[in-house]
């Protein structure tokens, strides 16, 4: 076996261990200096947190904004409101109107308008529903497409998860006191919801109008088709404001970013992404 110190297997494994340690140290040496640059660097930028409906647009604005570092987190409208109250984020994003008790101390800036579109599969013959029918479908009282003018097939109802601002808008404006049926499919992602509807010809769901793509089509509600003009005119029943919330007087970096978002350039980007810009909305 030889002596402990010089046996080849010991040497070989020590070589291996040393090599591993060296690579490790190299990797860390590359990344750790950044760590020493630490928290202040990360926090000197503007942080947005809140609604996942607003998040993709906030990220686009952040991408195009050249005035500094903007970080976007999700968490949901409610969490975003809380974050800006706590100071964890400089800007809270909300896809729903604030409750009275949430308003205290916060400044609401409308950055765009959005519509909650109700979508079905592109080949679905139904293209219009009344709010009452929509409510009945989601409550489980109407269960077949034939009851609203379509083929005799069971309706696959898809909804967002509890806590979602989009779901809250839908429940508030469509469901009222009725509850969404418990066997509805639930997803936490509006992109996923769109995909589910695009792949199932019996499906119905709701999501931001800006996210409707080929494969699905938005329904007219009470005769009104969701579009930039019907939302701007407040004619479409399911429109909602996208809000950026700040507490007290915003810092310079935050104020500059807000100015960009509400500027012509920022709003042009909003329209490009499918939102309704604030300028075209009725005063």
């Amino acid at each position: 076996m030889g002596t402990v110190e010089s046996s080849p297997s010991v040497r070989a494994s020590r070589c291996r261990a040393a090599r591993f340690a060296r690579t490790f140290a190299c990797v860390l040496a590359v990344t750790l200096p950044g760590a020493c640059r630490q928290a202040d660097a990360a926090r000197s930028g503007v942080t947005l947190a809140g609604s996942t409906s607003v998040q993709p647009f906030a990220e686009r604005w952040a991408e195009e904004y050249t005035g500094g570092l903007v970080t976007v987190q999700s968490g949901g409208s409610t969490a975003g409101i809380k974050a800006v109250h706590d100071g964890t984020a400089q800007v809270g994003m909300s896809s729903r109107a604030l409750h009275p008790e949430e308003r205290t101390g916060l400044v609401e800036t409308v950055v765009a308008y959005d519509a909650v579109a109700v979508i079905v599969h592109a080949t679905n013959p139904v293209s219009s529903l009344s709010i009452a029918q929509l409510r009945a479908i989601y409550a489980g009282q109407l269960r077949f497409w034939s009851e609203v003018g379509g083929p005799h097939r069971p309706i696959t109802v898809i909804t967002r998860e509890e806590g979602s601002g989009t779901r809250e808008t839908f429940e508030h404006k469509v469901m009222g006191t009725s509850r969404i049926r418990t066997d509805a499919l639930v997803t936490a992602y509006q992109g996923g919801l769109r995909k589910m509807v695009a792949e199932d010809r019996d499906a119905i769901g709701y999501l931001s109008l800006s996210r409707v793509t080929a494969g699905t089509k938005p329904l007219a509600l009470d005769g009104i088709v969701p579009s930039e003009s019907s939302v701007a005119r407040a004619a479409y029943p399911l429109s909602r404001p996208f809000l950026f919330l700040t507490r007290g007087t915003p810092g310079d970096a935050t104020a500059a970013f807000l100015r960009y978002v509400t500027s012509t350039a920022g709003q042009a980007l909003a329209r490009e992404e499918g939102l309704v810009p604030i300028m075209t909305a009725a005063p």
Binding site: T52, T78, T182, D183, V186, A203
Partner: protein, 320 residues
């Protein structure tokens, strides 16, 4: 830096206690965040109510508990026979060279992340179920989730079952063959009964894996808050309940999700304890039998037993 031996010993002890400390911390924090809501709503209501409407202040976990139970049963119903079959094939029937290829292949491929499993389930399995005439439904269902979970649980079941089967002493088989039994009779009559406690351990660990799985289930189960009535119904589990709503929840809603975590934690600990009992029996068997397959085998088997647990999709009970 020369530290006195005693200091080093203390430091090592501290390191050793880190896992216990971590576990305690986890239990403490989950309990601290979740218990208030449980007591507010009442433990009975919390566990037995069928209505989960947190934005209205209604917290009832029954559909999710049922969902977890149903999917676990489904996963085991599919995964246990198949896994056991593979284990028998690899341990008893396969020539060494074939085994040397197939066993690592299974274990290697088992390291695939659960999100990829879920993705494939979403892209392939769900449409197939939805479009098959005699199945139907939305596709996102108990069936889809059970199949995906069964595939994920297979490597765990196979690995541990193989160990259990190989631990059965050669003399048992030789005795049976000497009496004229076919290989199949030997397997079913002698080997499997002897390996029973190990196979039970495999099943329990598979169960733990299925109960703890989150990502793959979210992608294929449909997440409806209802007691599943058929294989084709969408379903929600304790784990997916947390993952689905955690992103948005705050206040009492978030606490309710932590409370879901408490229930999950308790169930996993119970399964852990059961698995530990079953595995204890396996170790007993190993130590007691003097005439196992070869002289060097016990040592190798002991190491092989522990390390497969630590490999690939392991540790066995955790999902991702």
């Amino acid at each position: 830096m020369r530290l006195p031996e005693r200091v080093i010993e203390r430091m090592l002890l501290a390191a050793a206690l880190s896992s216990v400390a971590g576990l305690t911390l986890i239990a403490l924090y989950i309990a601290r965040e979740g218990l208030p809501v449980v007591f507010d709503a009442g433990v009975g209501t919390f566990l037995a109510s069928g209505t989960w409407a947190p934005t209205r202040g209604e917290y009832g976990l029954l559909p999710m508990i049922a969902g977890s139970a149903v999917l676990t049963v489904g996963a085991l119903a599919l995964g246990l026979p198949l896994g056991l079959g593979c284990a028998i094939t690899l341990a008893e029937l396969a020539p060494p060279r074939v085994r040397a290829i197939l066993k690592p292949t299974i274990e290697l491929l088992a390291g695939i992340p659960s999100v990829v499993y879920g993705f494939i389930g979403m892209e392939v399995l769900v449409p197939v179920i939805r479009d098959t005439p005699w199945l139907g439904g939305p596709g996102y269902s108990v069936l889809a989730a059970s199949i995906v979970l069964a595939v994920m649980v297979l490597p765990t079941v196979i690995g541990i079952s193989i160990d259990a089967i190989e631990a059965v002493p050669r003399t048992y088989r030789e005795g049976a063959r000497a009496l004229g039994a076919t290989q199949w009779q030997t397997i079913t009559g002698v080997v499997l009964p002897a390996a029973r406690s190990g196979i039970v351990a495999a099943a329990i660990l598979g169960m733990g894996r299925a109960v703890g799985e989150t990502m793959a289930v979210i992608m294929v189960a449909g997440n409806a808050v209802q007691l599943p009535g058929s294989l084709l119904d969408p379903v929600r589990t304790l784990t997916t309940n947390i993952a689905l709503e955690m992103g948005y929840a705050s206040g009492a809603h978030a606490q309710a999700l932590f409370a879901t975590g408490i229930v999950l934690f308790v169930i996993i600990m119970a399964l852990n304890a059961l698995a530990g009992l079953a595995r204890g029996q396996v170790r007993e068997r190993l130590r007691v039998t003097p005439d196992s397959r070869s002289g060097a085998a016990p040592k190798r088997k002991r190491r092989e037993r522990v390390v497969p647990d630590a490999r690939g999709p392991m540790p066995p009970l955790a999902g991702a």
